[in-house]
Symmetry: C2
Subunit: 128 residues, 2 copies
């Protein structure tokens, strides 16, 4: 029996590592040719491996990724990332869909930004 979860976890970790090291040939081997990359916050969709790689190659700044957590389950994975560009830090949440061939078919990225909490819950929440 094929252990999809173990394969998906390996692919998810390799995806982060490949991006961090700008290892485009390794990434090419992880991605389906028709991979779809979506950023729901901006309603942007990038279709195809070539466009996805180019998007990352052109992405400005000296960006670095580190996996805070990888959760793999069958052919789905969720990545909780610590992303740094210079002195700036942001967390990201990434959802991966892996196909039958073990290639990433869909990537959905969320880039949550800091905001001020609404009033009315100070009695329950501490801030750090």
């Amino acid at each position: 029996m094929v252990d999809d979860t173990a394969d998906t976890r390996t692919v998810a970790l390799a995806y982060v590592d490949g991006l961090e090291h700008r290892d485009w040939s390794r990434l090419t081997g992880l991605l389906a040719a028709d991979v779809v990359y979506e950023m729901p916050q901006t309603r942007e969709r990038i279709s195809g491996r070539s466009a996805f790689l180019r998007f990352n190659q052109e992405y400005p700044g000296d960006w670095h990724l580190r996996a805070r957590r990888v959760v793999a389950d069958g052919r789905h994975a969720a990545l909780w990332l610590d992303v740094r560009v210079g002195a700036e830090q942001q967390d990201a949440c990434v959802w991966l869909d892996v196909g039958e061939q073990g290639l990433i078919e869909r990537i959905t990225d969320y880039w949550p930004e800091p905001y001020e909490p609404p009033a009315g819950r100070e009695h329950l929440a501490q801030r750090w």
Copy 2:
């Protein structure tokens, strides 16, 4: 052998269902007494089951949750939620840590908001 992943998946689904149905007694049974709830975007931390339940009981609006995806892996789960308050829709990304007793010990919520994409990637991205 205990199947942590199956138990975690059950707990994660029950967590969403318990919140959606305001089933506070069911939620009480899912949460460790010293559960920690964090919202990194606002740097807010709510400590303890009672405070967490009160936070949800007091949360304004007729909010509804639906799991778009549950990814469970050992004692970690990731929840991709579709959240609605009236006509407003927002996705959320939730990371759960389940303890040895099968209770949720840590909840980390991200509430990514829409934003306009930066210029310079229109040649790669389509918008919807």
